[in-house]
Symmetry: C2
Subunit: 557 residues, 2 copies
């Protein structure tokens, strides 16, 4: 034991936003904490989700013993199906996290092969040389845990994602006691959530949104549509309770909103009073002041329920003048344009859209700000510290927040980036090389109701299927495309004679997509890009069975 | 006079962000208020600035009498050179606004032809049927005015941009008295700034940033770099004063920072104590705790001074561990990625970067929030109201803020979009048709030191010079481009034999640009796109004298 070594290998989420995954290796035993995805930003347009490169784990497949999940957000569990199809090991997590995983596995038709093992806070688990204790933390999702992992070289604490909410709506307090206990006995390494390290002070309690929601639901003269993440069970509970109080029925709209509330309800995490739910198809028949619509699509995703409502293209729900729409969510950096355009559409239809910062707040963050991060640092008093979950600036701010612990036993803070290896032994800790990491782009069906034949695509093999770029000139003011769209390609079909049948047909496909869209959709780059991409993909897959990357370029003229 | 008509024609800035310009027409007389530009967003990558389509004014050239400027921000004066080269009429504005215009005219070598006429607040001016009074307002830039325009159909108030700052740093209060006077006598139409209509409450006074700046400058252990808009003279004055108090000299870095401070100083609007300025080339030789660097580039513009510093590519200034960098500015939506990457680069070099929301604030907005907008609405009590300067959601929020005036004489609010015409006569006001509007893309030199042979390009004539799309696959983790870049084009050169010499050479040009860039630059899409665009443009212009639109596509692999 004396010369045992522990390797800590963040494979994602360190120096980048999302896609959290960290491996701990001790001799021939590896455990993996979380397997998240990231949403592609504009620059990755042409793919649906992005997952971490698992090469390091696949190469050491025989040593991987377990996948352990801290909570059920997509940036922590979104890659589990891809992970398990490569490395089929038991998955540990709380009941809610595993239920969300189960849903994804069913979609990928691999539920049967997976071994899901439910744990509770305070449970202890021994896996090879690792003893793992689960510690309840407060976060925007229910059933989130931190991990205390006792290893041959000492205790490692991994916080998962957290805030220190003094008044959680479910009254389940952050288990600071257990954390303090470990801190007292001595912690070798702390890995802690840095998402809000660049925010001063404290994050507000989840309970702080109650007055704003109450005002919205009791004072609004007509229909109220509230959009939040479907996994924000605390938020949903408050909306449901306050709707009941205001005499409103509640409709759940959007696939994820319906699925996740069913799961939370069946696990006893969400109380739904009898008779309060109404079907989406009934919304427009009800008295407008007697209904609340809980709807997915806070980030303006072009095919989400709320985005469809905003361009009057939803099967069941429409907004009418005097309706109120509230975005009870943060604007994820990079999504501003999509979100603001959706808001503009909703305002054009006469809705009063509530969003952004206000007092009392319409949204509070699920991640701890500087003083909460300091509190956890002070309780744990680690010998070594690695900030995780954040881009470089957040990690670096978090490192600075730990500076004062130099006088309380902190020997060194390592600001790492994904793929860097931290090695710990009885002599101490040090950076020790690099393993392969990267981003794998996943190309799924584009229609959100149908998850069909998902293809994993590695951008490094782009050359295999090539790239297709539809170029569309749209007049911003008339919303018309004045000329036939261009379609250029590389590495896909030979365009040598400038008259390839396929590309000529592709131009017609794009033209038809434009014609069949409303002016509102045509002047909205986000929507039109997504529609063109979906239609063109369907056409190309059908004609060629190949899946080139499709990156529409829209020019305002 | 009895059957005279007034047409109000916003040609930009209404339903879109930036590019503010509004025409007022009465019979055969037209005056134009402001002629701004907008910065192109990602989707317009491939051009440098965007100006309004002036077709309506050019067609009615013989009736245009004057261009009147409310203040010197680029979104109000940035198109003046292009305006005057089409329609050469006298330009009226305060001394500072005109000095900023003069600088742009000199760059375009058309200063001699222009007739600039300086006005002061309370000045009155008669132009045809219009009598115009200039009213001092508080804003982030000095010497901003609102306009009270007496016309045959009544008084029109145009606020320009404003906040109602109760304690402006120069003690020049918003002239609420004059505004109130007009309100009392009766105002037919109010056009008012909507930029912050979606923010509740009051914007903080410019003076509110003083405690934060004071702490930064007196407590930071080493060099402090502060970035703000060069035209924020109030902010610069505070930084200079507090630097002196903290025993720091000040270096001005970045072309616009140097030019604008010279102008403000020469007009007596900026006090620069003797001996406080040092040259940028001296910064690195001075004791780090004895110098403040005022530097341009708050928005992470890839070729700006601060962006260059962030990748250690500036001629004179570098950041070193322990330095402090403060972004005393807002993050303009759409610029998040560029800004956050710049911050990451600076943090990697060991700088402590201060940005975002904090108390006391590091930045305050120059635009009034809801309650300030209400105050102006209540003072003016117009018969008709048109919210201007904002995207649809801000205009629509602003319209809602005026609802209560229905009981105080407000007959109707018109939420308009650029190009829509409002017609007023003795019977009332109504929307009356549409004039041509649009966005003209300006393709200037890409090197910020040299403004060379500017070409006005109308996207509608894209077909003339075509489009060139360099496609570059960069490994995010190694920063290497593994394969030779692809270059595809349409409507530019014939690529029929797939081996066009020009495009083959173009691939080499792009490859050389990549090779000559640092890894830091290669993994930063913003920087690498801009460098590829600049180098490829230079090559193509030289070889062909044509100017295709160049839109680099970077793929993370």
């Amino acid at each position: 034991m004396a010369d045992q070594k522990l390797l800590v290998v963040p494979l994602g989420g360190v120096g980048e936003f999302g896609m959290n995954i960290t491996a701990l290796r001790c001799g021939d035993d590896i455990i993996v904490i979380d397997a998240g995805m990231m949403f592609p930003d504009d620059e990755l347009m042409g793919v649906d989700i992005v997952t971490p490169d698992l090469t390091y784990l696949v190469q050491n497949k025989q040593y991987v013993r377990a996948l352990i999940l801290t909570h059920g957000h997509e940036d922590h569990i979104g890659s589990v199906p891809f992970f398990l199809s490569e490395i089929n090991v038991p998955v540990y997590g709380t009941a809610f996290s595993l239920a969300l995983v189960e849903r994804r596995l069913e979609e990928h038709e691999i539920r049967d092969q997976a071994e899901l093992r439910t744990v509770k806070p305070r449970d202890k688990l021994v896996i090879g040389p690792f003893q793992i204790e689960f510690i309840h933390v407060t976060h925007s999702i229910v059933s989130a845990v931190a991990l205390a992992i006792t290893t041959p070289v000492g205790v490692v604490i991994h916080t998962g994602d957290f805030k220190v909410d003094p008044t959680p709506t479910d009254n389940e307090l952050f288990d600071l006691h257990t954390l303090a206990e470990y801190g007292k006995r001595g912690v070798t390494l702390l890995l802690s959530d840095s998402t809000n390290a660049d925010r001063p002070g404290y994050s507000e309690s989840e309970r702080a949104v109650r007055p704003r929601l109450e005002e919205l639901l009791s004072r609004s003269p007509r229909r109220v549509l509230i959009s939040c993440f479907s996994s924000s069970i605390h938020r949903l509970q408050q909306v449901i309770d306050l709707s009941q109080q205001a005499g409103r029925k509640v409709a759940l709209v959007g696939r994820s909103m319906i699925n996740v509330t069913e799961i939370a309800h069946s696990l006893g995490l969400l109380e739904i009073p009898d008779g309060i739910l109404v079907r989406p198809s009934d919304v427009m028949q009800m008295r407008p002041d007697k209904v609340t619509v809980l709807i997915s699509g806070t980030q303006g995703e072009p095919l989400s329920a709320l985005a469809r409502v905003s361009v009057n293209n939803h099967k069941h729900v429409a907004v009418e003048p005097g309706d109120t729409v509230a975005l009870s969510s943060r604007i994820i950096p990079g999504n501003e344009k999509l979100i603001f355009r959706m808001i503009d559409h909703l305002e054009r239809r006469g809705a009063d859209v509530q969003y952004g910062t206000m007092k009392p707040p319409l949204h509070v963050s699920g991640h701890g700000s500087s003083e909460e991060l300091r509190l956890v640092l002070n309780l744990v008093r680690p010998r070594y510290f690695v900030p995780i979950h954040g881009e470089y600036r957040q990690l670096s701010k978090h490192a600075r927040l730990a500076e004062h612990l130099r006088h309380a036993g902190l020997e060194e803070t390592f600001v790492m980036e994904s793929g860097q290896v931290l090695e710990l032994d009885r002599h101490g800790a040090r950076k020790a090389g690099q393993v392969p990491v990267g981003r794998i782009c996943i190309d799924s069906g584009t229609v959100d109701e149908v998850v069909e034949d998902i293809v994993i695509r590695d951008r490094r093999h782009l050359s295999e299927d090539g790239i297709v770029i539809p170029i569309i000139a749209v007049s911003r003011h008339t919303g018309r495309s004045e000329t036939l769209p261009e379609v250029v390609s590389r590495g896909f079909v030979s365009d040598e004679d400038g008259s390839s049948d396929l590309l000529r047909q592709a131009r017609q496909v794009v033209a038809r997509t434009l014609e069949s869209s409303s002016q509102e959709e045509r002047t909205d780059h986000g929507v039109i890009k997504e529609k063109v991409r979906a239609d063109l993909k369907r056409y190309i897959v059908k004609q060629t069975s190949r899946r080139p990357l499709i990156m529409p370029v829209i020019l305002d003229v």
